[in-house]
C-alpha cells in the first residue's frame, strides 16, 4: 500500500512524504527534499566567474580563468556527491530494526541500520535551532550498562527537517510497530 502527501519543511520549502505499508510489521517513509534549483546554481557560477574575471583584469594571467572553471566544476561535483541530499528514507521492520537511508544527488546512498534490541523508543523532541524552536524525530538507544538509561539520541530526517504535522504521521506509525515489539518481548 502506497500513498503520497505533501508537507513543508521548517523553512517553508515543499516536501513530499511517500508512505509504503509492506506488511503489518514493515513500513517505509520516504521524504523527498526540493531539488537543486537552477537559479541558485546560476547565481553561484556567475559570482565565481565574475570574481575570476575581475582578478584576471588585475593580473593578466589566463590561468585564473581556467582555474575558476575547474573550481566551479569540482565544487559542483563535490556538492552533489557529499552535501546535497535528495531523499531520506526510514524503514522500520518489526523485530529486526530501523534503517535510515540518505540518497545524495549524485546517486550515492548512505545507510545506517539500528537493531531493534538497541532501540528504546522513538520520540519527537524540541530543539532550539538558531532563532527558531523546531521539532525533530529521534530514536533513543538503550544503554547497555544502565537498564533505564539512554546511551544515544539519533535524529532522523536531519537534512529534510519536516514540520510537526509530518513528524506526527511518522511517529504514529512507528509507535504502532514498536508496540508490537514491546508486546512480543514482554510475553515469552
Amino acid at each position: 500500500m502506497e500513498d503520497e502527501q505533501s508537507f513543508s519543511d521548517i523553512c517553508g520549502g515543499r516536501l513530499a512524504l511517500q508512505r509504503r505499508y509492506y506488511s503489518p510489521s514493515c513500513r517505509e517513509f520516504c521524504l523527498s527534499c526540493p531539488r537543486l534549483s537552477l537559479r541558485s546554481l546560476t547565481a553561484v557560477t556567475c559570482t565565481v566567474w565574475l570574481a575570476a574575471y575581475g582578478l584576471f583584469t588585475l593580473c593578466e594571467n589566463s590561468m585564473i580563468l581556467s582555474a575558476a572553471i575547474f573550481i566551479t566544476l569540482l565544487g559542483l561535483l563535490g556538492y552533489l556527491h557529499f552535501v546535497k541530499i535528495d531523499q531520506e528514507t526510514l524503514l522500520i521492520i518489526d523485530s529486526l530494526g530501523i534503517q535510515m537511508t540518505s540518497s545524495y544527488a549524485s546517486g550515492k546512498e548512505s545507510t545506517t541500520f539500528i537493531e531493534m534490541g538497541k532501540v528504546k523508543d522513538v520520540v519527537i523532541n524540541e530543539a532550539i535551532y538558531m532563532q527558531k524552536v523546531i521539532y525533530y524525530l529521534c530514536i533513543l538507544l538503550k544503554d547497555p550498562v544502565e537498564p533505564h538509561g539512554i546511551s544515544q539520541v539519533v535524529p532522523v530526517f536531519q537534512s529534510a527537517k519536516p514540520r510537526l504535522d509530518c513528524l506526527i504521521e511518522v511517529y504514529r506509525s512507528c509507535q504502532e510497530i514498536l508496540a508490537h515489539q514491546k508486546a512480543a518481548s514482554a510475553s515469552p
Binding site: Y22, P24, S25, I93, L96, Q99, T112, F113, E115, K118
Partner: protein
C-alpha cells in the same frame, strides 16, 4: 515476535529438500545454511550435523522442508514433506515453497507443542552466503574462544547470523562432485573456491619466513651489540632520524616474517598492511634512486649545495649587520649589541670555513647517502631531514646561545624584581615570602635590576630573531616527518580491500524490501554495509615512529616566553631535558 528465516540466495534455485541450519530462539530467527537433497538417509544427515557441531561448536539442526516445484505437483510431495517433520522434530517446523514458473514464494511455520498454532507472520531475509562468510564485522563482537566448547554463541542480534555462517565452514567443504553420502546445496556446491596462487604462496611462505626471520634476527643482534652502546655513538644514533626509521622498519619486518601464525583477523590485516607498506616504500625508493642517479643529478645537487650554503650565510650576515645597526628603528644598547653581533659573526665565519673545507667530498658523500634510498622512500626522507639538520647546525647554535642568554636574563630579572619589592622565593615552601634585606643588598640589587632591565630589549630581539629562524627549520623538518609518518602508518592493504572487496570490511548490514504481493510473506534482501574509509584508516592504522610533538600550543608559548629550549621532536625513550 515475527519469525525470521534467513535464506541464502544461492539456494533459491535448488531442488526440493530439507533445510539445514541453526535456530536462534532469543531472536526467533532461523538461519538456513544449506539444502539437503533427496534421496538421503536420516541417520547420515544427523551424523553430518554432529560432525559440523564438533568442528565449529555450532548447534545445527534440520529446520524444515524446501519445495521448489511446478504448479500442480503439490499433491505428491505434500504428505511426504509432512512425514519428514515427524522424523526430524524441530520447533518450529518451517515449510518454504517456491513455484518454478511464477517465482512466487510461500512460507509456513508450525509449532507442535503448546497451543498448536500456525505462525502467519514469517519474514524471509535473503543473504549472500559467500559475502557473509568472508566479511568481518567492525567492531568485532566479543565471541567466546572456539576451544571453550560453549556451543551457544553469545553474539547478539545480527552478529549471530555472521557468527553461525562463519562457524559452519565445515558444512561448505564438500561440493556436488564429491561422492559423499549426503548431497548438499550451498554457496560452494558448484565447486569449492580455491586459487592456485594462494596455495603456492602458502606452501612457499613457510621456508621463506624462516629464512628471513633468521636474517632479521642476525641483523638485530648485530645492531644490539656492545659497540653501539658506547657514549658518543649512542648519542649520535639517538639524534639521527634515519636510525629511528631503520629501527622501526626492522621491527615491522620482524613482525611480518615471524614464524608464528596470526590468530585473529586483526593481526593478519596488520601483517598484510605492513608488508604492502614496506613494498610500496621500497618501490618508491628505487624510483627515486633511479631518478637521482640518472643524468648526473647527484653532481648537479652537490654543485648547487655549497653556493646555497654560502647564500644562506650571506643572508645571515646581512641580518646580523641589520641587528647591529638600528633594526626597525629601535635603539639598541650599543656595547652589548656590538659584542653579541661580533660573537655571532665570528661563529658564522667558522661555519662557512668548515663547509668550504668539506666541499670536495660532498659529491661522494651524497652519492653514498643516495644509495640508502634503495631501503625505502621513508629512509631517504629521514636522511634528507638529517642533512637539513646538519646544514643548519649554526642556526641551532645561535638559537641556543640566544635562548640561554635570554633565559638567564629573565631569571635574574624575576628574582631581582622580587628583591625590589622586598620579597624572596622560599625554596622549602615553594612560594614567595616577604624578606627584610639590608640596605647594601637592596642597593646592589636595584642597580643590577636596572641594568638588566635596560639591556632586555637587545637580548630579547636577538632571541626573537634566532627563535624564528629555528622555528622555520623545525617546521621544514616537521613537514618531512609528517610525510614519513603518512607512508609509515597508512594501512594500504585495508584501503585496497575496502576499494576492491567492500564486503570484507563490514560496518553493519542494510536491508532492501523485494517486490511484495498481498498474501505472500514479506521478502527482504540483507546486504553488507561496508565500512567508511575514515573508519578503515582509524581501525587499521599502523603504529608510527612515535615522533609526535610533545607540547601543546599553550606550553610551547610558555616555554618560548621564558626562554626554555624547545625540542619539538622527541624520540620515544629519550630522557626529558
Amino acid at each position: 515476535m515475527v519469525l525470521k528465516a534467513f535464506f541464502p540466495t544461492c539456494c533459491a534455485s535448488a531442488d526440493s529438500g530439507l533445510l539445514v541450519g541453526r535456530w536462534v530462539p532469543e531472536q526467533s530467527s532461523a538461519v538456513v545454511l544449506a539444502v539437503v537433497h533427496f534421496p538421503f538417509i536420516p541417520i547420515q544427515v544427523k551424523e553430518l550435523l554432529a560432525q559440523v557441531h564438533q568442528a565449529g561448536h555450532v548447534g545445527l539442526a534440520v529446520l524444515g522442508t524446501w519445495c521448489h516445484r511446478r504448479q500442480g505437483a503439490e499433491e505428491r510431495l505434500g504428505p511426504f514433506l509432512e512425514g519428514l517433520g515427524a522424523i526430524f522434530s524441530h520447533e518450529p517446523w518451517l515449510q518454504l515453497c517456491r513455484e518454478r514458473t511464477s517465482g512466487l514464494w510461500s512460507c509456513k511455520a508450525t509449532c507442535q507443542q503448546g497451543p498448536a498454532r500456525v505462525k502467519d507472520q514469517v519474514m524471509l531475509v535473503f543473504y549472500d552466503q559467500r559475502q557473509v562468510l568472508l566479511s568481518q564485522l567492525h567492531p568485532p563482537a566479543a565471541l567466546p574462544d572456539r576451544q571453550a566448547g560453549d556451543a551457544a554463541a553469545s553474539a547478539e542480534g545480527l552478529a549471530a547470523v555472521f557468527d553461525t555462517v562463519a562457524r559452519s565452514e565445515a558444512l561448505f567443504r564438500s561440493d556436488r562432485f564429491d561422492e559423499g553420502p549426503v548431497r548438499l546445496s550451498h554457496w560452494q556446491s558448484e565447486g569449492v573456491e580455491a586459487s592456485i596462487l594462494a596455495e603456492l604462496a602458502k606452501r612457499a611462505s613457510g621456508p621463506v619466513c624462516r629464512l628471513l626471520a633468521c636474517l632479521l634476527s642476525l641483523i638485530s643482534a648485530a645492531s644490539a651489540c656492545r659497540v653501539f652502546k658506547l657514549r658518543p655513538l649512542s648519542f649520535i644514533w639517538s639524534k639521527l632520524a634515519v636510525c629511528g626509521q631503520l629501527g622501526h622498519r626492522l621491527e615491522q619486518l620482524e613482525l611480518v616474517f615471524s614464524t608464528q601464525k596470526a590468530e585473529k583477523p586483526a593481526q593478519l590485516m596488520r601483517k598484510a598492511n605492513v608488508l604492502v607498506s614496506v613494498l610500496l616504500d621500497v618501490a618508491l625508493g628505487l624510483a627515486l634512486l633511479s631518478w637521482l642517479h640518472g643524468k648526473d643529478r647527484i653532481g648537479q645537487l652537490a654543485e648547487a649545495l655549497v653556493p646555497v650554503a654560502d647564500h644562506v650565510a650571506e643572508a645571515l650576515r646581512h641580518l646580523l649587520q641589520w641587528l647591529m645597526g638600528a633594526p626597525a628603528g629601535l635603539k639598541m644598547n650599543r656595547a652589548l649589541d656590538q659584542v653579541l653581533g661580533r660573537f655571532f659573526l665570528y661563529h658564522l665565519h667558522l661555519w662557512i670555513s668548515y663547509v668550504h673545507l668539506l666541499s670536495p667530498f660532498i659529491e661522494h658523500i651524497l652519492w653514498h647517502v643516495g644509495l640508502s634510498a634503495c631501503l625505502g622512500l621513508t629512509v631517504a626522507l629521514s636522511t634528507l631531514s638529517d642533512i637539513i639538520a646538519l646544514l643548519t647546525f649554526h642556526i641551532y647554535c645561535f638559537y641556543v646561545y640566544g635562548a640561554r642568554l635570554y633565559c638567564l636574563k629573565i631569571c635574574g630579572l624575576s628574582s631581582l624584581w622580587r628583591l625590589f619589592r622586598g620579597k624572596k622565593w622560599n625554596v622549602l615552601r615553594q612560594r614567595v615570602d616577604s624578606c627584610s634585606y639590608d640596605l647594601d643588598q637592596l642597593f646592589i640589587g636595584t642597580l643590577l635590576f636596572t641594568v638588566l632591565l635596560f639591556l632586555l630589549p637587545t637580548t630579547a630581539l636577538y632571541y626573537l630573531v634566532f627563535t624564528l629562524l629555528r622555528l622555520l627549520v623545525v617546521a621544514m623538518q616537521g613537514l618531512i616527518h609528517l610525510l614519513v609518518d603518512l607512508v609509515n602508518s597508512l594501512p594500504l592493504y585495508s584501503l585496497g580491500l575496502r576499494l576492491c572487496r567492500p564486503y570484507r570490511l563490514a560496518a553493519g548490514v542494510k536491508f532492501r524490501v523485494l517486490e511484495h504481493e498481498a498474501g505472500r510473506p514479506l521478502r527482504l534482501l540483507m546486504q553488507i554495509n561496508p565500512l567508511p574509509y575514515g573508519r578503515v584508516v582509524h581501525a587499521y592504522r599502523l603504529p608510527s615512529c612515535g615522533c609526535h610533538p610533545t607540547h601543546s600550543w599553550g606550553s610551547l608559548c610558555r616555554k618560548l616566553f621564558f626562554g626554555e629550549l624547545i625540542y619539538p621532536w622527541r624520540q620515544r625513550g629519550d630522557k626529558q631535558d
